[in-house]
Amino acid sequence: MIQYFKNIYSAIATIFIGMKITFKHLFVPAVTIQYPDVKPKLPDRERNRLYVNFDDCIGCDQCARACPVECITVDTVKGLPTEDLGKTSQGKKKALWVTSFTIDFAKCCYCQLCVFPCPTECIYMTDIYEFSEYERSNLIYNFSILTPKEAEEKKANYARFEAEKAAEKAAKAAAATPPANASKEQ
């Protein structure tokens, strides 16, 4: 019987304690913000959309190899010795044409593993987080500044150069060695 009234008492008492707490919170200022109107201040290490400073990219493919989800694809073609490919901001000489450098943000897991191996620190994460798209294909970003046509041209150039070099080598080899051996080399 005592337990009976104790139950009633404890129920009522704890309900009132709870109600007191919630009532107090009616007058506590809200912790939420009005998102699109007010934006949160992001810390300086924020890890959101990747950005590639393409001027500095030397096409070393380290980021693509570090990526656990294979969202980065880098295609390169060697530059001709006669061409000037420019320098990175740190003064490194480039040797490769980066014909395409795409990041598929639909796959990207924002793990930052690609950022650390980069020798020229040209790939880094920015604090832009609003980049949703209606089409999945729009999430594939191409950072290369070469147009497809230019890229084709570079590829063709290098292929031609290779071919010429091979031909030259073959010719040299043919000139230096007896014909019997030359045919074997081919």
Binding site: L26, A30, T32
Partner: protein, 357 residues
């Protein structure tokens, strides 16, 4: 009174009756429901350190209207295996039960849908419609969650009607009337004439009644809370267990009907509690209209006080909802049969003895 006015205006009893019956819906229940939904969201938000709706109108005041518009546009999804007629009737019946209860609620001394001598009894009776509606909805949905919700709900509402009625009986014993207008009129003057403080007069029995009345108020408030399926007694629609209980399968306007009925129900029971224990439409501290001699101001003031009291109890319901967890179905029955009903009986006997003095 308004009925007479309209019947004179149109010269037809039928039109007058129609207008009379539609008036509370359009001038009171719909605006109230719109307000209450917004208010609940605001109350819950601020209790949880949030802001709640902020975009539509001032502090999101028009949010509910936007929601209603959205619900109007929604596709009415009807599963293939449901029992169509019952499925369609249920939300309507649910609303009818709630709406009919408003007929006997006195908003002020001049504005009451129907001044029934059996007012309280009528309200208790018609609110029983909702049980049928919930059972229909649960059964017709052909969904196990709905069915379980409906069974729980039927058991719950029927059980909790007993303590409600027992408490109403105590009031009837003291006042000798079931007419809510008469009840309200008895509690006129100042707040010490309210039933919660023993009713009018200053005899010894008034003071003896006070503890019993407070107990009675507690019991009726808890059990009406259970009757309208609010937390901590919202197990018929317990969203973490039964998804949405009996209205799982409803969408669009039919869902809105249930929703509207829930909020209207909250006000209905709050109003009944206010009318029984807190003087109904009576002001706690005299009328401004009396003071400055404008008699026509009094009914308006009365409506104000009535609404204020009703909304206060609705607020308490919301407050409880955002504070408490939910009971389990057997505990719910325990609360009713082991605690509320015995206490209500004891209360009934004590009040009976006091009234004999």
């Amino acid at each position: 009174m308004t009925y007479d006015f309209f019947s004179k205006l149109f010269g037809s009893d039928l039109i007058a009756a129609l207008i009379q019956s539609l008036l509370p819906l359009f001038i009171f229940i719909l605006p109230y429901a719109l307000f209450a939904v917004w208010w609940e969201r605001k109350v819950s938000a601020h209790m949880q350190d949030r802001l709640g709706p902020m975009r539509v109108g001032w502090h999101g005041a028009l949010q509910t209207i936007a929601d209603i518009l959205k619900l109007f546009q929604k596709e009415d999804i009807v599963a293939s295996s449901i029992d169509k007629p019952l499925f369609n009737i249920a939300p309507v019946l649910m609303f009818v039960g709630t709406y009919a209860a408003f007929a006997a609620i006195p908003f002020s001394s001049v504005f009451i849908g129907s001044n029934l001598d059996l007012g309280v009894f009528f309200i208790v009776a018609v609110s029983g419609f909702s049980v049928a509606a919930i059972l229909m909805a649960g059964w017709a949905s052909d969904n196990k969650y709905s069915l379980i919700g409906a069974m729980r709900s039927a058991a719950q509402i029927i059980s909790y009607e007993i303590p409600t009625i027992l408490v109403i009986i105590t009031i009837v014993m003291v006042t000798g009337t079931l007419n809510l207008t008469t009840l309200s009129e008895m509690q006129t003057g100042h707040f010490w004439n309210w039933m919660i403080l023993g009713g009018p007069g200053s005899s010894l029995s008034k003071f003896l009644l006070i503890p019993s009345m407070i107990l009675g108020f507690g019991i009726i408030y808890i059990s009406t809370l259970a009757e309208v399926n609010r937390t901590p007694f919202d197990i018929p629609e317990a969203e973490s267990e039964l998804v949405a209980g009996y209205h799982t399968e409803y969408s669009g306007m039919k869902f809105a009907m249930f929703f509207l009925a829930e909020y209207a129900n909250m006000l209905a029971v709050s109003s009944v509690v206010a009318a029984l224990f807190f003087g109904g439409y009576q002001s706690p501290c005299g009328y401004l209209g009396n003071l400055i001699g404008l008699k026509w101001l009094i009914p308006i003031e009365q409506i104000f006080w009535f609404t204020a009291k009703g909304l206060f109890f609705v607020f308490v319901q919301m407050w409880l909802r955002w504070t408490l967890p939910r009971l389990r179905v057997d505990q719910l029955m325990n609360t009713c049969w082991k605690y509320l009903i015995p206490l209500a009986f004891v209360n009934l006997i004590i009040i009976g003895l006091i009234t004999l003095i």
